[in-house]
Amino acid sequence: MGNLSSVASALATLGARAESSADPVRLARAGALILPGVGAFAEAMERLNSLRLVDVLERRVRQDKVPLLGICLGMQLLGRDSTEGGLHQGLGWIDAPVVRIPADAKIRVPHIGWNEVSWTAPSALNQQLEQNGHFYFNHSYCMQAPADVVTATTDVGVPIVSAVQKDNIWGVQFHPEKSQNNGRRLLRNFLNALPDAADEMRPAC
């Protein structure tokens, strides 16, 4: 769904082979996975369920430890649940709720536009990226992630979590595929962080 083609063309400019697929067999063979998403939480989870992708993703990511990058909604789906349009369960790989951007934020919601990303922990994703570099955000909900998985935050009047990492699972709330050079640097870093065997990229759903 959503920004698949943008992610694929950004990866193509970096020389990676990406393929979008909803086929469990293909996903089972991918060397790395990207879970992008422009969409609503409930709709996306329903899609993953109805396409029977949850099991194969679970096995590949949790058991085989294949690297996965969740982008925007894709990051939120990693969480336990979301309050977008009622309470809906997520993949639960990161034990964190996804909630609406807090009311004490000093911006109008949705949070749309270019904002700074402050890296708070070392991450494979921020190599050669300046601290507080600009990335494009476009969302109304954010993850309340536990401190040990947070790798970056962004200021909207209050800090919100803009990147997480837990073992082989990465998530970014912003859109690297739409963040010009900073975004391409980040995607390159993701590609560089992959084990050698994983030179073949296949985004999911």
Partner: protein, 290 residues
């Protein structure tokens, strides 16, 4: 902090990017993909591409245009023009747009906003409202490419769109289209008060100073221009430097940066004095390979 955005609006008529004057006359500019590529390099923050072909002259949908330009677009892309159904919204997003722009449907079928927001999230739906002053004062809202006035005022229509789930309002002053006299700030003020979602303003920019005038209204998160960006190089990044000089914090990530330049009264780059030019030397900036 969240930065103010310069939004480049590309109007496409029958496959060609045009400049538009008062929603009536059009000047050809060139191919959409090339316009997108240039705006990208010149530091634009977002691109909105609108198919403004007459309904009868639409040979293909906006999704085809989006598919053509998306590979060149490394900034967010919103697209609209003739979108009436949820399937069209899906197709446009699938072709590579991050967000869709609705105009006629906002007035005629606001349920489409809700459908789109439920499926793709509120942040993916922009309600575009075209407005013109009414004879007796106030403003009238228009749909169908500015040809049909509706009963609601722009502020009422914006409120209604927000209620139905629109994530952003794009307010355009028809009477300023191509006028180069600046945004209609009264109209901006009205919409700014009416809604609590972010607003993008469009119509009338003829010089970088015009951007700053609208930036001070609460809720204005995007400063859009169409005609102004064509025929001159580096317009977006020059405008950003002028805005920054006016205290508006912008993103400066383009390879050219005009922040240490002076500006003339109309907001154009001022010529440097001879002594300064003497002191300058050439620097070779190598393109970074990512």
């Amino acid at each position: 902090m969240l930065k103010q955005r310069i939004v480049g609006v590309l109007l496409v008529r029958e496959g060609i990017v045009v400049q538009s004057l008062g929603f009536e006359r059009y000047l050809p500019v060139g191919k959409p993909a090339i316009a997108v590529e240039h705006l990208n390099r010149w530091g634009i923050d977002e691109i909105v591409i609108l198919d403004i072909s007459d309904d009868g002259a639409r040979n293909f949908g906006i999704e085809k245009i989006v598919a053509d330009v998306a590979p060149y677009c490394m900034v967010p892309l919103a697209a609209g023009g003739g979108i009436r159904t949820i399937d069209q919204i899906r197709d446009v997003i699938k072709s590579g747009a991050d967000r869709v722009v609705l105009n006629t449907a906002v007035a005629d079928n606001p349920k489409l906003i809700t459908q789109g927001a439920d499926r793709f999230g509120a942040q993916a739906i922009i309600a575009a409202i075209d407005a013109k002053p009414r004879a007796g004062g106030g403003y009238a809202a228009f749909v169908d490419g500015g040809r049909r006035a509706i009963k609601l005022t722009p502020a009422e229509l914006a409120k209604d769109a927000e209620k139905h789930g629109a994530g952003e309002i794009l307010i355009q002053a028809i009477h300023r289209d191509g006028a180069k006299s600046g945004y209609d700030l009264d109209l901006v003020a009205e919409i700014s008060k009416a809604v609590s979602v972010p607003i993008v303003v469009l119509g009338g920019v003829g010089a970088p100073v015009h951007f700053a005038a609208a930036a001070r209204f609460p809720g204005v998160y995007g400063l859009a221009a169409g005609n102004y960006l064509h025929y001159t190089e580096h317009t977006a990044t020059v405008a950003k430097a002028a805005l920054q000089a006016n205290g508006v914090v912008m993103r400066h990530d383009a390879y050219a940066d005009y922040r240490d330049f002076a500006f003339s009264d109309d907001g154009r780059l001022a010529k440097r004095n001879d002594a300064e030019l003497e002191d300058m030397f050439f620097v070779h900036y190598v393109d970074e390979v990512i």
